[in-house]
């Protein structure tokens, strides 16, 4: 993904190298931000904010592995900020049309990948009752495929809390799936 050489070069203040780092890193950051926020524009804003923060704090990065965790952590924190801002105005309303869409998609064999709009709708209604933390843990663990240790390091919560949050998130989503599909 990223090598330490590239990070070293970016530290020198070279914009071209940093452009390359943005190009390589943005898709990962966008994926997490989009799955957490369910909104393309907000996810792009999060990526942009994340990249600016990375540029400002490049000196702190010690290794390429640490960079990945650090990147996810910034994305998750920026996403929390956006979620906090829009908390009073929930965007997702579970309508019949969306449930029919999910039902159709999972009955297809093999099911085709969803478009961004469809993905945001589905994640939105499945996770609407989850707390920010539960949502982050679910996205990082079940959708991004990270281990509990990595999720714990990224979110700053203990491993047992990660497991508990993941359990509640899965339970809530399962109940919805069972109820509506």
């Amino acid at each position: 993904m990223i090598d330490i050489q590239l990070i070293e070069e970016c530290r020198g203040g070279n914009f071209n190298n940093f452009r390359k780092l943005v190009e390589l890193t943005s898709p990962f950051a966008y994926s997490v931000a989009f799955r957490m926020l369910g909104n393309e524009d907000q996810a792009k804003d999060v990526v942009q904010e994340t990249m600016v923060t990375i540029w400002q704090k490049l000196k702190k990065i010690k290794s390429a592995e640490a960079y990945k965790t650090w990147l996810y952590r910034i994305v998750v924190n920026k996403s929390y900020d956006f979620m906090r801002k829009r908390k009073r105005n929930p965007e997702f309303v579970a309508d019949e049309q969306t449930w029919r869409l999910i039902s159709n998609r999972i009955s297809e064999e093999p099911s085709a990948a969803l478009e961004n709009g469809e993905t945001s709708k589905i994640i939105g209604i499945l996770t609407e009752r989850l707390s920010s933390k539960q949502k982050a843990v679910f996205v990082l663990s079940d959708l991004e495929g990270l281990s509990n240790d990595e999720v714990s390091e990224i979110t700053g919560i203990s491993k047992s809390a990660v497991k508990a949050n993941l359990y509640h998130a899965r339970k809530s989503i399962s109940e919805k799936v069972e109820k509506y599909l």
Partner: protein, 181 residues
């Protein structure tokens, strides 16, 4: 595998497969480079200062500890106020007794005389008499001396029957003279 978990896994597979796609990183790159060019590599901006000063409020355990501490402080304050109010209420019901320094013991008769003396002031309010402490002492000494002399005289009369007889006779004569008048 239950039907519920099968459905859940299918939804999860669908979402995993549908990784949000970032249409182009060019726009993000351009915006990020524009922003970091303005700020400079090591420039200290307002968000850095705010982050440095208030960034700790985003740490979960710090936030929860502060909430806990503020609740404890409010409770302690309320408890102290209650104690203070109770104490004030208790003190306001107490009778204040100031123990004045005891002077020389006076005999009953002297006390009576002083009372009479005080009453005479009330009877004749126009005649205000002011005496000093020294004069008061002299008066008391004189009264005591007079009492002693009176007792001596009494003993002398009791010891001499002839003298007693003569004095009784004289007193009867005196009383007659008063009645005649």
């Amino acid at each position: 595998m239950t039907r519920e978990s099968e459905k859940y896994n299918k939804v999860l597979d669908l979402l995993r497969k549908s990784k949000p796609a970032l249409d182009s990183t060019d726009d993000i790159e351009r915006k990020v480079i524009k922003r970091i060019s303005k700020v400079g590599h090591s420039g200290l901006n307002l968000s850095d200062i705010i982050d440095f000063l208030f960034g700790w409020v985003y740490i979960g355990w710090v936030r929860r500890s502060l909430i806990g501490a503020s609740i404890v402080l409010v409770l302690v304050f309320a408890y102290q106020q209650t104690i203070i109010l109770k104490r004030i209420d208790f003190l306001s019901r107490q009778t204040i007794v100031i123990d004045r320094e005891n002077g020389p013991a006076l005999s009953d008769e002297v006390e009576k005389m002083l009372t009479m003396y005080k009453n005479s002031w009330k009877r004749f309010p126009s005649k205000n008499i002011t005496i000093s402490e020294k004069q008061m002492k002299e008066l008391l000494e004189a009264v005591n001396e007079l009492q002693l002399k009176y007792k001596d005289l009494e003993n002398l009369i009791e010891g001499d029957p002839e003298l007693k007889k003569m004095i009784e006779k004289k007193m009867i004569e005196n009383s007659r003279t008063k009645i005649n008048l």
